[in-house]
């Protein structure tokens, strides 16, 4: 069981308290109705599924109930960073392989 740091609670808590919520930084268009078929496909269906660094959303379901973003290495399963929803993709990752 992983320990995940909730950026709102500012604490590491056991994985049992959290739910994964899919890939992060996929913005919903402000003008959704006018989105092209191709853009909608990218928005709704296409996910990166990388081997290595993934940016994903988690929810502190059984804690503060907030959604937040996390950077995880899918190879080591290590969380490199968590940050609040709405914050930009971090430019630098601590401890990430070059």
């Amino acid at each position: 069981m992983l320990l995940i740091r909730c950026p709102y609670c500012e604490e590491e808590r056991p994985e049992l308290e959290f739910r994964n919520a899919g890939e992060a930084h996929i913005a919903r268009s402000a003008d959704m109705a006018a989105t092209s078929d191709d853009d909608f496909e990218k928005f709704f269906f296409i996910r990166s599924n990388p081997k290595g660094i993934i940016y994903e959303r988690w929810r502190h379901m059984h804690g503060c109930a907030r959604f937040f973003n996390a950077v995880r290495d899918t190879v080591s399963d290590r969380f490199l960073l968590t940050y609040k929803a709405g914050e930009p993709k971090p430019a630098k990752l601590p401890g990430a392989a070059e």
Binding site: L2, M32, A65
Partner: protein
Amino acid sequence: MIATFRIPGAGRLKQAETARFSFDGQSYAGVEGETLASALLANGVHLVGRSFKYHRPRGFLSAGAEEPNALVEIKRDSARRTPNVRATVQELYDGLTAQSQNRWPSLAFDVSALGDIASPLLSAGFYYKTFMWPKSAWKNFYEPRIRAAAGLGVAPDQPDPDHYSARFAHCDVLVLGGGAAGIAAALAAAETGVRVILADEQADFGGSLRFESGARIDGQDGFAWAQGAVAALKAMDNVRVLSRATAFGYYAQNFVGLVERVSDHLQSPGRELPRERLWQVRAKRVVLATGAIERHMVFADNDRPGVMLASAARTYLNHFGVAVGRNVGVYTANDSAYAAAIDLKKAGVGVAAIVDLRDHPTGSVIDEARALGIEVNFGRAVIRAGGKLRVSSMTVQPKNGGGERTIPVDAILMSAGWTPSVHLFSQSRGKVAFNDETKRFVPGTYAQDCVSVGACNGTDGLSATIDEAYAAGAKAAKDAGVKNAGANTVKGIKPKVDASESWSRGMLGAAPGAGPDTTVKAFVDFQNDVTAKDIRQAVHEGMRSIEHVKRFTTNGMATDQGKTSNMHGLAIAAETLDKPIPQVGLTTFRAPYTPVTFGSIVGHARGPLFDPTRKTAIHPWAEPQGAVFEDVGQWKRAWYFPKAGEDMHAAVDRECVTVRKTAGLFDASTLGKIEVVGPDAAKFMELLYTNPWEKLEPGRCRYGIMLREDGFIYDDGVVGRLAADRFHVTTTTGGAPRVMNHMEDYLQTEFPHLNVWLTSTTEQWAVIAVQGPKSRDIIAPLVEGIDMSDGALPHMSVREGRICGVPTRLFRMSFTGERGFEVNVPADYGQAVWEALWAEGQKHGACAYGTETMHVLRAEKGYIIVGQDTDGTVTPGDAGLDWAVGKKKTDFVGIRGMARPDLVAKGRKQLVGLKTKDPKVVLEEGAQIVGDPKQAIPMTMIGHVTSSYWSENCGRSIALALVTGGRGRMGETLYVPMPNGTIEVEVTGMVFFDEKGERLNG
């Protein structure tokens, strides 16, 4: 029977109580505190099992958790039968009953042992090669026979009556292994005041100090020192000491699973004691002190009962006071077996000879053995063990060939050296490194915050071990980040080693006499009956990777996970491949280290505690009324209320008719309820539902549809607007949690600018639906402060007021098509208000109805149930709900998805009604629909039945179905092929009763 192999004065169980036990029906005496293995050996019993594949007679190889052979069934009563218990681990208690396994009719005469003679047919990979022909024989002949013969032990056939508990624990330093290294590390860490857990799989701490008679620490015998040190640790507030606790798995971020065997060693464990306790420990630092496991010598017939590891014989003698024979032989490739011979000789046991594979070993143990008059042979190999049910001799030959000599013995003690136990280190994703000089895999690159000390780290000698472990324990405490916490300011003193033994070196692979030119059965893996020849054969048949060799031969794949066999198997494969060992690689160590019961993993989460059961406030009323309940998710919902003599159909028919004739009461409390509040509440609702909300007046309700972004229906429910900034949203019973999650997700991440709060109120409100022509008459006398006239409270409106003196949100709404109300009251008042309404209802002849009647009544009106009539691929248009989509809206979740080409294309499946041509025939839900029943199989299916009931009110069966282009097929005849005939149906509209909807105000 007198325990003839117990040596007076030897061992540490002198004051122990006698324990009587039975093995295969024969009664014996042992002493409490020893293992079943020790007790059997004390009685001269070596033959305890039959091997898995060849059914060869087997005895004890070891004195610990690595035991591959001595697996027995322990039976407490008819329900408490545990197969595959290692007799070397099971502690004896008075009355213990054990049975051997894998034999018929008896252990000494086993019919299946013919497999040993037929073994050329059962060579490596035989599963993959044999039983291939004829193909038809597999199912009826081979498979049943293989299944009957396969497996170890017999699974119990009754539910497990024991209970199992679980604990989470946190500590700064977790020390795994309670031998000299673990104890020293725990002492060093504990003295700094940090929180320490020390765990060991054995009943007694001390590890190899149990048998290592040459060890002296702090002026005491090593084992006595260990007991004193552990007692001191136990007395410290910051230390938890767990014995009989096996660390079976090392997971991410220093999370370690341990199973503590709490009561398996007790004669009559009290009901309050769990059988086992699962510990899930999160440690800042882990110290691995898991020791090493002795390897056997690989020579012909090395599996005969009486052939065992030298350290095991020493444990039986020095700890339990039991001699494993009267005239033992020793076969070794390192020093440690000499110590066994010396200890046995000093205890009065005859030592026939020591056979040492090495040419010119020197050292004090060799001199001591000679001084005691033991015959020592160098450069020689034991090429064969004699005897069948018990070893009777060993045949010795110079290792480069020459004359054979057979020496009578009744036990052979063997040692090929020691394998560091890197299992947990490897599970932690650490990478092992091969030390070419010592031929050992030892911890190399660490992946987690842990450190290995002592024998598992390849550290030889007690003095070096304690130095290393003590330093590592202190460092782990420091690294855990606790600065001199606690009151322990007195610095500890490192234990001082006064004497120790040397066990370095040894050999890997097959010994002379079991080489490639032979076909002898020299066992590498005892539990899976893998011989040196099998491993060579695997390589010859093309297996190159050790992972393939392992799977082809099943070497190391038994329940002992190759604790004694992996290194030998690897060395033989490497030799056959003519490659250095590290290039062939090591197979992966996986959890669990030793078998873990399902019970300990499941813990309390079984039976009624497997999943929470949710009951409504009205449940205590419904139960004594004779309600039959159905499970809806975690909820228990009243399904129907049968009167005396009624079956389900009769009850449901009566309920359906009564509701439409007078009225019915229905417990709708399980509906999901979410309070959406805030200045932007209406804007939020506009975005989350397809409907328009801004113009809905406070006090009015609307049926809302929620989509996912892909345009498919996600949930539905009636929403009441209580105020400009407050909505009372209802969801489906099963959908409540995911709808709440869906709403929170959008509010927090996509629309965070909206000033809205969401609160789940499902459990706060009890909901009593009162439906039927008399519903208002039933409710009105109890309501205060609400004008219930049709003008003031029309269909689809909501008012706040009081009922029976308690606050209510009174909804005028209907899921039956009748005039209807849903009375929301705080859950605590739910039962009282229900009972008051029930009393009023009785005056009008109303009934209580359950979910089945609710389903029938709504289907008569064509009201859908999300999740039954929709399946996640149904759009509002498909369901005939286009009217609920705000045409002028510019955005809501799903607006773009709904416009996808496939979702607007012609020929989609649409919800329609179906009437069977024979009105008495009720379709099966899920049944497939075809256009032409005469077409060839497989037929083209054009839809399926989603809801189907007998409708007493309509006097016929009714059904809803999803049918391709359904709304264009009105009046068309379609067909439902069933196993006993094809059913003709007519496509109709979805409303079967009161098509004009007049009864809503009736």
